[in-house]
């Protein structure tokens, strides 16, 4: 029954689908995670249409490859890895085409004009980062994932995650210097 599926863990839902072919566990997974996948893709890609494409790619892959899911890992880790891959694929296809400001999501993010301006500035700055820095920063700062989890999701080492987040933040800090009302630290830019 659908209500039973609602109460089940992600991993149990995947197992139920693989075992029975019943589509309903997958529907529950979709409803449960589509927003997180979409938001992650949106912040990585900076573009709503691309984020929707990525979200669709991710869940199509989940549904097709459910049987290959390894239960040693958390389902969300797998999901974020698929999201990262989908974003990379789309990013490669688009070859980092600059995204016009009009494509930014227009939902209210806070109260007042200044917070909206701040958000736009942060979003612009974020999109100025290379994708390999953007993804771990979004995972860390928006989703609170640990370096270890990010490493699994991005297929890199935890040390690499640490370094990419630091460099990316430093570049963000430079771009957000007007926000802080001061110049960025001289001589403290990213080392490479």
């Amino acid at each position: 029954m659908a209500q039973d599926f609602e109460a089940q863990s992600d991993e149990a839902l995947i197992a139920a689908f693989v075992e029975s072919g019943d589509q309903r566990p997958l529907e529950v997974l979709l409803a449960r995670h589509e927003s997180r996948v979409f938001n992650l893709a949106l912040r990585i890609l900076g573009n709503r249409a691309d984020a929707l494409d990525a979200t669709q790619d991710v869940f199509l892959t989940v549904f097709r490859r459910a049987s290959s899911f390894r239960h040693q890992a958390a389902f969300t880790t797998w999901l974020y890895r698929l999201t990262t891959n989908a974003c990379h694929d789309i990013g490669r296809r688009k070859k980092r085409t600059p995204v016009p400001v009009e494509e930014l999501p227009a939902e209210a993010g806070g109260s007042g004009e200044s917070s909206s301006d701040t958000r736009l500035l942060v979003e612009q700055a974020l999109r100025g980062l290379p994708l390999e820095q953007r993804a771990p920063i979004v995972m860390r700062d928006l989703y609170g994932m640990s370096y270890e989890e990010i490493a699994e999701a991005t297929g890199t080492a935890a040390g690499t995650v640490k370094s990419r987040i630091a460099r990316g933040r430093m570049r963000l800090a430079e771009m957000l210097a007007p926000l802080a009302g001061r110049e960025p630290e001289p001589g403290r830019g990213p080392s490479n």
Partner: protein, 314 residues
Amino acid sequence: MTKDHLEIDSISAYLDGELPVEERSAVESHLQTCAQCSATQQALSTASGGVASLPQLSLTADEHRELRVAVLASRRARKVPWRTRYTQWAMAGGLAVVAMVAAGYGFLRDGPSGGETSSSLSEGAAPAQRSFDFRSGDQVDRTVAGLPEVAAGLNRYRPEDAPPKAMALPRTDDGTESAAGAGSAEPFNPAAPPPQRALARTDPDQPNSDAAAPQPEAASDAAQVPDFSNEAADQCLSRISSTQSYPMVGLLAREATYQGTPVWLLVFAWTPDPEVGKTLDQWQTWLVRPQDCAAYAGPELESRVLYRSFSGQT
């Protein structure tokens, strides 16, 4: 740590609580005494906080629906474009497509005009002599896509035609269960002859429901299709239709064999979201063993379905 200052990596990881205890203490001590590193910490913290303050956005209702339909209707999406086209041909071409399926691919066996019995029929011959004989899921999909009954049935039913959920269906005079919902003016009778049944479903009170209907000649074309009707399979079809969470109507039920196992071929018209097309414009095929259909219902039965196609869409 460099000679005089902390590495940016360390400051960033310190902010994230990702440093080992001993290193954390060293970083903490240094930050208390070094203005430059402290300023760097502040800059990194501002950057991190800026990202963390970004709002979580939601999909719009339309985006959510489109995503759901695209994903759920395309569990094996690589085939959907092919299938969609195929269905359109079937609806437009009727006999031509069915004949192509029968002659070109050899999926239809031993119908009234189906020609010779294939030597590749399953051993034991008895079930295969009088039923569809499928060797693979792809064969099932393509055969169903070519059945004019399916093409004729799609887009002809609305969500309100689906039977009330989880309710016993009334018995009809001919002993079969009616899959018609309470609001349906003309009960759907799965036991009626396939082409006539589909075409006879035209509801004069709902002229728009004929928008995608095949031409009348499809009725005579459909006579070319073997009729492996089975009353018990029809009843199973109706029972399943009445217990789905989606609006779903049984289109046809036939005897078949699947990789040597006698099964019932059940085809449903359905829609994953009643608001999208306002018709049941997708089909799904199940192959289920007769004994399972007799013994189980609901999820227990669904878990025993031998083959379930992805959903074809017009």
